[in-house]
Symmetry: C2
Subunit: 249 residues, 2 copies
């Protein structure tokens, strides 16, 4: 029995009416999914909620108690619909304070009279939070506890994620084998694949249909943090497919 590696989990909380109305197509979820997978952090759940305080707080509290980390995107700009900082402060039961370091960043590019009430909203950080820098807009997000609060604009979010990643606990990376199953249809190997999957507790096996140029394709993906188990399960899948190929025609 191999030593069970520590599992680090995460959730993403996307905040924004514009995603739910379809106006903006989210580009952050897939990016964060790839990024966390590379770090050995298991993304377990994603939620998209509207710019409603109660909904954001409820989702934050559900997720932050369940997963190692929660990454939020959206709602940290200077307008009235940017209420993520307020929601995070409410979820943690702390006050917001105005962070002078962010005011200073604003003053580097704006006249003092333009550092107005709206822009000062972006300097409001929940007490106990640390700043998450970014190289694109320079206005930081923040982290409090296990919650990392990032912008919704993808380039800014990506820069913040790079900064936040330096302080994340990471797990063992999932190793992955992708097996082209086409032209054997899913229905032909479904039962045998299920039997292989049932034999390996530490291996996750999925079968994924897709449509390429009007033709159905399908791949089998074998994933595990245990490389020996991964190789063995992959060999079993390949042998099973070879057997089906030889008996089908």
């Amino acid at each position: 029995m191999t030593h069970q590696p520590k599992v680090i989990t995460a959730a993403v909380l996307v905040i924004g009416d514009e995603i739910l109305s379809g106006r903006t197509k989210d580009k952050n979820i897939g990016y964060i999914a790839d990024y966390l997978t590379d770090l050995g952090i298991d993304l377990r759940e994603v939620r998209i909620v509207s710019d409603e305080m109660d909904d954001i707080v409820a989702a934050l509290n559900a997720l932050r108690h369940r997963y190692t980390y929660v990454f939020t995107t959206g709602g940290i700009g200077p307008t009235h619909d940017d209420i993520t900082a307020d929601a995070v402060a409410a979820a943690f039961g702390v006050e917001l304070y105005e962070d002078q370091r962010i005011i200073d960043i604003l003053l580097q590019r704006l006249k003092p009279e333009d550092v107005n009430e709206a822009r000062r909203r972006m300097a409001r950080i929940p007490r106990g939070g640390t700043l998450i820098e970014n190289k694109v807009s320079r206005i930081p997000g923040f982290r409090i506890g296990n919650v990392i609060v990032m912008a919704g604009v993808p380039s800014i979010m990506q820069s913040m994620l790079d900064f936040a990643a330096k302080d994340l606990e990471t797990g063992v990376r999932m190793s992955v084998e992708t097996i082209e199953a086409y032209p054997i249809p899913e229905g032909a190997y479904g039962q045998a694949l299920g039997e292989i999957a049932a034999r390996y507790a530490n291996v996750s096996i999925g079968s994924y249909p897709s449509m390429v140029d009007g033709t159905f394709r399908n791949q089998i993906v074998v994933r595990s943090k245990d490389k020996a188990a991964l190789s063995q399960a992959t060999a079993d899948v390949e042998a099973m497919l070879a057997h089906l190929k030889s008996t089908q025609h």
Copy 2:
């Protein structure tokens, strides 16, 4: 006071490890968001969960009691990781039965001996469910109560959504005005925009930054089901922006 129109709400539940690992980039959420918005159905929440029975059942029960409709995507194929039908049956506390109409569809294209245990999984429908046809793969999804269960492959999902839409209660469509605010930065109008937003209870006003070719752009989007309120709020926003433009330079 205008008569308050009936509000029809929805949630989307995306089921699949492949989305959370980043292997597959979801293309269904944005499509369904646009589609429901066009029907006057308010998409209020999206969740993405893994292929774990307990997680799917918990999400289904949270969402179906809260929103008019829940649309699920993924997990209805013939392999062991396709457990959406089981999860929906568990959430509703009903049994699965094998639907002869689906077996007949399978028999139209397969030899009887190829309608095996794996493929028969796709014919399992929760008692009380109705079939959701699709013209792409021809294997149906289903609807039970307010839950519409669809495939994950986008072309199939889209065909199922067309079929399901015929029986959906629809609401008043949201009318939308998009105002180009650039080159006035969000921080310059944030406060005034918030004051306008506070004056219109039935109007939702958002300000959305984006990055186009390395330059920040920003638009203000005004949305309402009340066209008179929409025009008035839009006029207020435009007057506010015109005033800022005239005073800035």
